[in-house]
């Protein structure tokens, strides 16, 4: 576990810059295959609408995976992650066009938890189409 960010170099409020992640229908099919989650709401428009959704939506776990990238790219070693949790507040709607949807994800240091364990809590924000798609999205990481 060798994070590259040093505990002593971060402060409460230190920001991890917002990044954009694009997701289209092909990406959802690929994620379905890789994750084994073949729920048709993620690839079948008719099914999604029949169960009351506006359109096909991204897997919540796909959004959670992208949000994790923001954290693990910052720490350097994904093994530095100690805790990670999110609430799925709004679905990411993925239209059937050549653009798909965009998820904007950023984070900031919300607390320095333990000077000895060198752990900090990051609060993550994730929005798509101007709506917050994750709530209480938090990661605890062990820094160098």
């Amino acid at each position: 576990m060798t994070a590259t960010v040093r505990y002593q170099d971060v402060e409460v409020g230190t920001e991890v810059p917002v990044r954009e992640f694009r997701v289209d229908r092909a990406g959802l099919v690929r994620y379905a295959g890789a994750s084994g989650d073949f729920n048709p709401i993620h690839w079948n428009e008719k099914f999604a609408k029949d169960v009351g959704l506006p359109d096909v939506i991204a897997h919540g776990m796909f959004t959670m995976a992208e949000a994790a990238r923001v954290v693990t790219d910052w720490t350097g070693d994904p093994g530095a992650l100690v805790e990670y949790g999110v609430r799925f507040t709004k679905p990411v709607v993925v239209p059937n066009d050549d653009k798909g949807a965009v998820i904007e994800i950023g984070a900031k240091v919300a607390a320095k938890l333990d000077d000895e364990a060198r752990t900090v809590r990051l609060d993550i924000t994730a929005t798509s189409g101007g709506k917050k798609v994750l709530g209480r999205a938090r990661a605890v990481v062990r820094l160098a």
Binding site: T2, A34, D37, T72, E83
Partner: protein
């Protein structure tokens, strides 16, 4: 219909081992667009102190959810209507990252059953251990089964 509260605290037997393969990790990393070499290159993983390539943090969900799905969600005695289920909340507590070569067993436990505004809210904990019996990660999954009435009155 509200779920039976007597299921709270119920644990299911550990699953048969799931063997984590390098190429499965690669496939997952590619599907989430993550090019971190620690997921695909054993040398890069070893440089960070891992014995082999590790899996992205959410990879393990496929394993814990499969366990929960086969045992809890489809437990006929519990009576959850899966066609109305959405994923409400997900948390992980890691002892170490999942890595290639791991043979992982999941022990699922129902942590809570609540009824909120007619929705059934089911929280399932999946404890993941390796072949040596060491803890790897615990997954906390909250599923929400939307109320049938709300659906019909739309």
């Amino acid at each position: 219909m509200a779920l039976d509260q007597s299921f709270v605290g119920r644990s299911y037997p550990p699953t048969a081992p799931y063997e984590v393969g390098r190429e499965k990790i690669r496939e997952f990393a590619e599907a989430i667009g993550d090019t971190n070499p620690v997921y695909t290159d054993p040398e890069a993983a070893r440089a960070l102190g891992h014995p082999d390539v590790i899996a992205p943090p959410t990879f393990v969900f496929a394993i814990t959810f499969k366990a929960a799905g086969a045992q809890v969600v489809e437990d006929p005695a519990l009576g959850l209507d899966y066609s109305r289920v959405v994923h409400g909340d997900q948390q992980f507590a890691y002892t170490r990252p999942v890595r290639a070569g791991d043979r992982l067993r999941v022990t699922s436990t129902i942590d809570s059953i609540k009824s909120l505004a007619g929705n059934d809210v089911l929280s399932v904990r999946g404890e993941v251990h390796d072949e040596a019996g060491e803890h790897v990660v615990t997954s906390f999954t909250t599923l929400v089964a939307r109320a049938a009435e709300a659906e019909e009155s739309r």
